[in-house]
Symmetry: C2
Subunit: 218 residues, 2 copies
DNA sequence: TAGATTGTTAATCGATTAACAATC
DNA sequence: TAGATTGTTAATCGATTAACAATC
């Protein structure tokens, strides 16, 4: 039964399923039950069946799920087959790292251009991606409507650049700056990468286990 | 009332509180009520009071919370005052970006060294952090016990390096590779940065809003 | 067919929200 | 003191898990 509104928890699990299914395909596993998939991922079989049933009926009773088919469905649900395009704005260390090491293609996203204000970079290419002058961004967007902007500019100009991108009609911003963008365009989706949140969480669980160790000694 | 075991949801919100409290302090706000803080963060006042009450009584009836004091408490809970040390393993683009742009200090963590196998880098410094030969890592750890390893090596060697680090007695690994580390040392905490999960989530919510738009047109 | 496993409904569990006495 | 706001208990809501008929 397809659900009207899918909960955030379910959606955040979809990319995890995708990774595991890719992994299974790489190992030539063609068929898997919710039981086995749950064991591999640390979920209950119930949860797995509930999650997928939000989007349709992808399995077969008595058999399980065909891995390649399920993988395709998950990819489709995540929008990976929609041919989304992206540009990267800010080719500093982080932008550089993403262009070189992050496979946009593997997420079904075509990286078409990069923008920076540094004259040494403008006109160059990076892994086949042309680098344009950030000042020409609005003109470029008028000719090349683009779905996603990867924001890797210095924090100081993040808010302004985000505003420009929103005005250019971008549908989503993948925000690597630690700045709260506060856009006035509610139709623009923002996904923040908060490195510090992640590191602080790690700090917490380390502290916690230290405390437990101490508690035992006492 | 202090709780025995704190739920993950609460812990994941602590860094968000920290960011907002830092922000408030930067704006010289000295006092805040759960009502106002909730309005600013999109939480209910109830949730905020519940969250903090897991760790103690930080407010005053009829007054609210003193921002600097609450900030210190949150920082303490997150382990930021424990003087954790970290090293960065792999000084490619991502490692480079983190050393240069991510403020480890702001998370209360002292970055003491970097490791790489590239002879051009070994012996150099980067933002005041010395770069050592990755092959000498175990010896170095014997002399300099370190809490956290930031793993930014190529995927191909991620698993091996993680094993080495675990054997060296690291307490936590902040994993930027897209590899499931599968450590045999259960006492080593791992926090994964899965860029693709985040981007795919963005792709989903963009697709979703596109679908809603279409549905309205029909 | 018999066994296995799904999709879905019902039960449980946990997290969020509301309410309110305590108290600054 | 009176008003405000906490900390906490109770109520609600939603998410996860269990159970099971349907069926491959």
């Amino acid at each position: 039964m397809k659900k009207e509104r899918i909960s955030n928890n379910v959606i955040r699990r979809l990319p995890m399923y995708l990774r595991k299914l890719d992994d299974l395909m790489a190992h030539s596993v063609d068929r898997i039950s919710s039981n086995e998939l749950g064991r591999l991922m640390g979920f209950t079989p119930s949860q797995i069946r509930q999650d997928f049933s939000c989007f349709g009926e992808f399995g077969q009773q008595g058999y399980g799920y065909r891995v390649p088919e399920l993988r395709e469905q998950v990819a489709r649900i995540l929008g990976m087959t929609q041919g989304f395009t992206a540009v990267i704005v800010g080719v500093g260390n982080m932008g550089h790292a993403l262009v070189k090491n992050f496979g946009f293609d593997a997420s079904g996203i075509k990286l078409t251009a990069a923008f920076d204000a540094n004259p040494d970079l403008i006109g160059k290419e990076m892994d086949g991606v042309p680098i344009f002058d950030a000042a020409t961004l609005p003109e470029w967007f008028a000719e090349n409507p683009t779905d996603i902007a990867v924001l890797t500019v210095p924090s100081s100009i993040a808010k302004n650049m985000a505003k420009t991108l929103a005005d250019c009609g971008v549908k989503g911003i993948w925000n690597f700056t630690n700045v709260d963008l506060e856009l006035e365009n509610p139709e623009v989706r923002v996904e923040n990468i908060h490195f510090s949140d992640s590191l602080l969480y790690l700090g917490y669980i380390i502290s916690e286990s230290e405390n437990e160790k101490k508690a035992k000694t006492r």
